[in-house]
């Protein structure tokens, strides 16, 4: 199905309704503080089994786009990032809204979001096919090395907690091992439990780690009270002059977002922070930043939506997710028997084109919905969490059960829910866990295929240039956090000795 056919398919009634539902649900969970697009995708996943793969992918990508955008509303009206990536919008969006211009603030953010998303779509469509074309020529040793690098990269770059991230990745890998070993046909890691002989399905694990732990976190913060600003439609429509005034900022911030989106593990939050800081540094009026600056809103919102296209490039071409929500999208595709990577372009071009088309149309749908339905979405902020959180548990239980109609999966979900709570309390990054869980079987299969072709020799990992480069890069990425920490410590020590440490000055280290 060429790209044009994918667009035409999206405009058929059923596909279009699915897309609109996905975007609307995505925006809605973006509005609800504490509930995120990733969790929505995990909860929805079991119920997409009844759909065709094309429709399921349409729904999930639409949710992905809607979820990134919906955080703008709570950030502007409540000063709470409905999604973590809206954190920078909180600073200026809320201030502008407090000054009596909530519509203007939301309108600018919305316009910037659609510009960022559209530009990132262009880059996605231009770059992904040629990258996949190159990647398809890689052999199993190269693919194995890429997965190793992805795991280390996502642990080392994303969160500043390298050891925790890497251990979470390995823990995720272990979860994927129980069951029948596909190559030898032997049963492994069942620990004597018959139920484990079929292996652990990744869906109950993902539901537990994301949905159950989030309900517990929200229950912990149930006393949190916030005052919302009333939203109005006045100023929601942005003029062409506004696009002209903010055009350069939109373009620059979008490019930042796209680039950061492509890097595994960095994500939309960092993109909006970098774009915000860049806009502030280049602004003629930097003092307004933090006090309701329009430039700031434009920078943050262009960048976080631009990551959606950037992040799909490594996900679709190499099977490497850029962040947490992408990891769940990766898991969702795998559960639908679609393995992201270069072969997806060859074996399932209709899925790739559907993702491309949905990404663009969902952005326009999001723009229309957020413009016309802003007051409706804003009302969702007042929905009591006492109603929402128990519903999440009900959907999680049903979702886990629907997989195989067996109680064991519900138990798995609850057990991993408790693990998720522990990971959150210990501030362990969750993205590497999902990456490990989803990519471990692929890594094992690739290494095994490589060893069969090399008569059991590991040598090609070092003699094949691309595989060797990837492994060397992995080693460098492994060492880098320790080097960086040492350098930072010695710099702080030097500043302390000079008496000019930021700590001494009461600043933030």
């Amino acid at each position: 199905m060429p790209l044009l056919d994918a667009f035409i398919h999206l405009l058929t009634p059923q596909a279009f309704v699915i897309l609109l539902a996905g975007v609307a649900l995505g925006i809605s969970v973006g509005v609800l503080p504490g509930i995120t697009a990733g969790m929505l995708m995990a909860l929805t996943l079991p119920f997409t089994y009844h759909m065709t793969s094309v429709n399921a992918v349409t729904l999930l990508v639409a949710m992905f786009v809607g979820g990134v955008s919906g955080g703008l509303i709570t950030a502007t009206l409540m000063r709470i990032p409905g999604e973590p990536n809206a954190i920078m919008t909180c600073l200026d969006g809320y201030q502008l809204a407090r000054r009596g211009q909530p519509g203007r603030s939301l309108g600018l953010g919305n316009a910037s979001s659609v510009v960022g998303g559209t530009l990132s779509w262009g880059v996605l469509v231009l770059l992904a096919p040629p990258i996949a074309g190159v990647a398809v020529a890689l052999g199993p040793f190269e693919n194995f090395a890429i997965i190793v690098m992805a795991l280390i990269l996502i642990s080392s770059l994303s969160e500043g907690a390298f050891l925790k991230g890497l251990s979470a990745g390995l823990l995720g890998m272990l979860v994927s091992f129980p069951g029948i070993d596909e190559s030898s046909g032997m049963l492994r890691l069942s620990f004597g439990f018959i139920a484990l002989e079929g292996g652990l399905n990744s869906l109950p694990v993902i539901l537990g780690v994301f949905a159950v732990s989030q309900v517990v976190a929200d229950a912990l913060n149930i006393e949190e009270r916030t005052d919302a600003i009333e939203s109005t439609m006045r100023g929601i429509f942005v003029s062409l002059r506004d696009y002209a005034v903010h055009g350069w900022n939109m373009l620059r911030s979008s490019l930042i977002g796209i680039w950061i989106g492509i890097l595994p593990g960095v994500g939309a939050t960092i993109a909006s922070i970098v774009a915000y800081t860049t806009a502030k540094n280049l602004s003629r009026d930097p003092d307004r930043f933090g006090h309701g600056s329009e430039e700031a809103i434009v920078a943050a919102e262009s960048a976080n939506n631009a990551t959606t296209g950037g992040t799909l490039i490594p996900l679709l071409t190499l099977g490497i997710p850029g962040g947490l929500t992408d990891s769940i999208l990766l898991g969702a595709l795998v559960i639908h028997n679609l393995q992201p990577g270069p072969l997806l372009f060859k074996n399932n071009p209709e899925i790739v084109n559907t993702i491309f088309a949905t990404h663009l149309v969902a952005h326009f749908a999001m723009f229309a919905m957020m413009t016309l339905g802003i007051t409706v979405f804003a009302r969702l902020m007042r929905l009591p969490r006492a109603f929402i959180l128990p519903m999440v548990i009900v959907f999680s239980v049903l979702g886990a059960f629907a997989l195989n109609n067996r109680a064991f999966d519900i138990g798995v979900m609850l057990a991993f829910g408790m693990l998720g709570v522990l990971l959150e309390l210990a501030k362990v990054p969750l993205a590497p866990f999902v990456v490990g869980l989803v990519l471990a079987p692929v890594a094992e299969a690739e290494l095994r295929a490589g060893l069969m072709s090399s008569a059991g020799s590991f040598e090609p990992l070092l003699t094949r240039p691309i595989a060797c480069t990837m492994l060397l890069l992995s080693a460098a990425l492994f060492v880098w956090p320790f080097v960086r920490e040492r350098r930072r410590a010695s710099r702080i020590m030097a500043l302390d000795q000079a008496g000019t440490s930021p700590v001494n000055q009461g600043g933030i280290r």
């Binding site: 995120t36 050891l163 925790k164 991230g165 091992f177 006492a386 128990p390």
Partner: protein, 165 residues
Amino acid sequence: MQQDRIGRIAEIAYIAVILGVAAAVWREASTLPPAPYDPLGPKFFPTWVSYGLAALAAAMLARLALGRKLGRAAQSMVVGIGGAASHAPSPWTAALTLLLGCAYAAAFGFRGIPFLPATAVYLFLAGALLGPLERRRLVVVAAFAVAMAAALDFLFRAVFKLDLV
């Protein structure tokens, strides 16, 4: 301060968990025989991953023992835990929410109670727990619980064809 203490206890618990998992996996994997025609065999990956996990756990323990920090996830899907709190956290509410969820899952999984009443009771109890115990509010929560349970019962039986009790 309190947050730091909880975080530190959780870090130690996390290290203990991954050490335990690594040991259990290594022990189980070591009982597997080699595969005659497979260059890797079923135990290669589990064994090496458990070694890696144990090494990381040891490194984290060593850092904690030396008084160094392990770092923290810069962002979290679970918005709220460990954040700068402008309100008093409710650990008992969180624990009871989890317990109620487990009880509901058990009732559902073992099929002891039909779906509709089990869901209605669960939605009511959890809804009541997550807010003030005022009579008017409880009536609203009860109405919501019954209506949602009925709607979900219809949705999952009629639309998704789930085998519910």
